[in-house]
């Protein structure tokens, strides 16, 4: 290995197999949890007349998002990546949420009728 190669490796943190194994376990547990949760009626939250939040999809998406976060941070090394990578990932999610959120804003407010 030349000097450059050694330096190259030191700058790239190598995530250990143990970490990967722990994450694998966490992901499988999350999967089991989310399947289990779908078999129960978790109820709802009546925020306002005509505006109700059902907990089942919220829980399912929350578990999915947790699993995604673990994959992104550890399997995809983002925890050990430069700030630019983190910023890039964040901006991707942000734009994804803008697409969905602002489009749904139209659909959800159609029922509100005229002023």
């Amino acid at each position: 290995m030349s000097e450059q190669d050694i330096q190259h490796e030191q700058e790239h943190h190598i995530v250990s197999p143990t970490t990967y194994a722990i994450i694998l376990l966490a992901l499988l547990v999350g999967t089991a949890l989310t399947v289990l949760a779908s078999y129960f009626d978790l109820g709802e939250w009546h925020i306002a007349p005509g505006l109700t939040l059902f907990w089942n999809p919220v829980v399912a998406l929350a578990i999915a998002t947790t699993k995604m976060t673990l994959v992104v941070l550890f399997f995809m090394h983002v925890k050990y990546s430069p700030k630019l990578t983190k910023l890039t990932v964040a901006s991707g999610f942000f734009m994804f949420l803008v697409l969905i959120g602002m489009t749904l804003a139209d659909y959800f407010t159609r029922a509100w009728g005229r002023w």
């Binding site: 450059q4 790239h12 194994a21 999967t31 992104v72 399997f75 990932v89 991707g92 734009m95 969905i100």
Partner: protein, 250 residues
């Protein structure tokens, strides 16, 4: 390539630093090359997020409008296959990450094993997908000319699903909306499967190259960047599973 001839001509300027053979000549250092290509891969994944985003948007709107149809239709998907596929893909992400680790610590045999396992898991996923889709074909739940709303208008005609869920029969117009669910199901899992197939193809290529020792001499970029792609496809499935299979099973 014009690059190499340029270097030959500008040899005097280049002679002051040597570089590994896999460093392209428009980069000044190996690190710059690794950083740049890694960043490029992330940007490509951003385009993929937005690409799938359109499908997720359509799905969320339709689900909100036709919730009973979506519930009934999702009961047609067997949770055992969905869960199995999720576990398979998560395992494949693990083996892929281990593959990247093997390349980083320069263990060729280990890399080959993990790439092979990842390929195996990928093919298993596709196999299970085929089983599921075939079942949909047999039950006339593929949108199009042969689509049938029988299972939803008269749930008792479908004993497997009836025994588990005892769904109420849907009105004709709501039952027709189950076709929307299945369209989105096939569009989203189909697009996902297409990405899996491409991934599997690249994996096969990588296994050949790994055998030749291409990734265990310090040049891990290709494996690392492919790993990012593979994990991304896994993440898409994590959400597809939550949204398509787990709408409501109570």
């Amino acid at each position: 390539m014009s690059d190499s001839t340029a270097i030959a001509n500008g040899a005097a300027a280049e002679a002051h630093h040597e570089h590994p053979p896999y460093q392209r000549h428009h980069f000044e250092t190996v690190d710059q090359q690794f950083d740049a290509t890694n960043f490029a891969m992330w940007l490509f994944l951003l385009t993929e997020i937005m690409f799938f985003g359109g499908l997720f948007t359509a799905y969320l709107i339709m689900r909100n409008w036709y919730y009973p149809a979506f519930v009934a239709a999702s009961h047609q998907l067997q949770i055992k296959w969905g869960t199995a596929n999720t576990a398979v893909l998560i395992a494949s992400s693990f083996t892929m990450a281990m593959g990247v680790w093997s390349a980083e610590v320069r263990r060729r045999k280990s890399l080959l094993i993990y790439l092979g396992l990842t390929l195996l898991f990928g093919l298993t996923f596709l196999g299970i997908k085929y089983i599921e889709w075939h079942e949909k074909w047999e039950k006339h739940h593929i949108p199009g000319i042969h689509y049938s709303v029988q299972s939803f208008v008269n749930p008792q005609s479908d004993p497997e699903v009836w025994n588990e869920y005892h769904d109420k029969p849907l009105q004709a117009d709501m039952a027709q909306k189950t076709e929307e669910y299945f369209f989105l199901y096939f569009a989203m899992t189909g697009m996902h499967a297409l990405h899996m197939v491409i991934g599997v193809g690249i994996l096969v290529f990588m296994i050949f190259r790994a055998k030749a020792g291409a990734y265990t001499t310090g040049h891990v970029t290709f494996v690392e960047n492919f790993g990012l792609y593979w994990h991304f496809v896994d993440i898409i499935w994590i959400y597809l599973f939550a949204l398509l299979y787990l709408i409501s099973r109570h």
